[in-house]
Symmetry: C2
Subunit: 403 residues, 2 copies
Amino acid sequence: MDEKYYILNTKTVIDYINSSIDFFDKNADYECTEIGDGNLNLVFRVKDKNTNKSLIAKQALPYVRAAGEDWPMDIERGEIESRILEIEYNLTDGMVPKIYKYDKEMYVMLMEDLHDYIIMRYGLLKNETYPNFAEHITEFLVKTLLLTSDVVMEHKEKKTSVSAFINPELCEITEQLVYTEPYGDWPRNNIEDNLKEFVKEKLWKDEALHLEVAKLKFDFMNNAQSLLHGDLHTGSIFVNQEDTKVIDPEFAFYGPMAYDIGALIANIIMAYISADARIEEINVKNRQKDYLLNTLEKTVDLFQEKFLKLFDTVVTDDLAKVKGFKEYYLKDIMINSAGVTGLEMIRRTVGFAHVKDLDGIENDDKRIKAKKSNILLAIELIKNRYETIDGKTYVDRLKKYEK
Amino acid sequence: MDEKYYILNTKTVIDYINSSIDFFDKNADYECTEIGDGNLNLVFRVKDKNTNKSLIAKQALPYVRAAGEDWPMDIERGEIESRILEIEYNLTDGMVPKIYKYDKEMYVMLMEDLHDYIIMRYGLLKNETYPNFAEHITEFLVKTLLLTSDVVMEHKEKKTSVSAFINPELCEITEQLVYTEPYGDWPRNNIEDNLKEFVKEKLWKDEALHLEVAKLKFDFMNNAQSLLHGDLHTGSIFVNQEDTKVIDPEFAFYGPMAYDIGALIANIIMAYISADARIEEINVKNRQKDYLLNTLEKTVDLFQEKFLKLFDTVVTDDLAKVKGFKEYYLKDIMINSAGVTGLEMIRRTVGFAHVKDLDGIENDDKRIKAKKSNILLAIELIKNRYETIDGKTYVDRLKKYEK
């Protein structure tokens, strides 16, 4: 621990900020609140009530409350997160919070305050819709993924970046929780009682399924294609009616593009399945379902459209310019994205970390039914991923399991 | 440069060795010769004439004679090479020279002297045969490749190893010389005049071929499957009638297993094509061709046999144990190995770095004919790699182009 380190509080953070960066007015009237969950980080929102200008100060704590966590990993993570956010900010013209400063001695990140945004998962659970989301998130995906790949980056620089962002601990979490444990009787699985027999039958006994999961797992572990966000679900996305911001890239590493794309698609599908089961009022239900179906289809198709378009203007590798290559490359990405979609849907239903979309369905019968549909659709996406390329195919498959 | 560094000579190297390691007898009668090519390294063979015990001392020079080389890269390379040799030594029970010591201050590697071995390429050009070679080299391949993959290695440790052995400069050389330049009019290509029209027609105009090369190139750049040797041609292999040793792993990095396997297969095929064109005496020619054909078939088949056998005893990843996975995984390796075989054959005929096997055919007509056959067979291997899995298929394809 550096000698200069001290734990900030709602009083000292103001002086700290003003001695670090030139942000607030001299005559600012400060309001400061601690808004973190207090486990790994302190998160302060500091606002000038005169101008409404505000920022976030996020400080890593010198201890970890949760047992068994590895301290040195956590303390470094802030720096890596700030570097990834800077890269993503530059690649996407500001689709992540702006980092004002990262202080290596105080482990403090000073960053843009997204106070007028909401976490997308919670917005969707309040039956809100975000009409620009598909446009925005496909922009984010295409830019962060394509521009960090060998198609575009100078190859030596890209390899240095692969090495710098290798992330063994957090990748191991994904390898276990997403690619391994849901397919057997592992202690961390979280399966509600009424689902257990179904899970044993459908997920644990199916050797053909396990083989497909193994193929996808080795792609995840070996394919250093692009700098991924690594955890791109609707809980890592801030939205409002105008705008979209992606946060929390702590799982970032060089991996297959499909991993980000599939995580996102899966969470749109689970929001749809949830809406169908949760919402009573028929007009609201239909509007929400239409919105999510449309968002699903647009996300899948716009990604591909934008990918092919951007490819031509940014490609640098001489062989990647060859006729037919970009279509081959994209198709491979989409095939594996369908596989990851299925994996994410399954692990969020029976694995360690669930989503509120499904667990929050209050009616027991509806919840079990929704989870079963979710699992069956996921298996189909994994097994038939070679035939799951365009948005319409996703929509058709989803509608099939709705009945 | 470290202050302790000084350039060794045939006198001082003896004291240096004896002050570094306990190797020679007190009463040794030394004979010392410098056997390096003198460009990047000094290479001393030091022998005790009483006992015939000997070793090699390889010292990196503090300057590089070849223009344009990057000095700091070269000086570090010795350390990486010694680490790779140690890893390979342990994985293969001594199929690479033993490293006695690496001295970071003097940039000296003290290592086993392979004085009773010959570089395989030159042995084959002298029409020698090595009956145990296929057995040995498949042992080397299976052990170094499978045991450094995610099938076996603890995944966090493997990622740390991927990061440690990232090799941007030397991978770039391969990406350019093997995967890019032979397919267009690049200044470093080395094409003899009588072959130019043929190369333009067959290699530069074929867009379908370029697409397959692009797919293989991106596999090479992104697939961090195993710790490769990275340059496994017959010039990197020492042989005699009993034994086989692999040297010079300076191109080592985490890449697709196919890259090592294909480089090796290609060099056996080129030795065969060379033997057919070079050797006048019919009995010698037939014996040499039979030996090489048999070695080709055995290398391809034994690798697969041993791979599947070892897999079961060493697999640790839970999903890799799934029924059907090892066959899927191996087939993917073999498909890409056929592709790499073709790439290596082409680049050694028209690219920057040739092989003596082909360039050394003295008769002009025979040499041009051999090079053309080599290129046509290579194209077939690249394009039909999905149907080039077993040894017999390689043999059949090779025989077709012999006519």
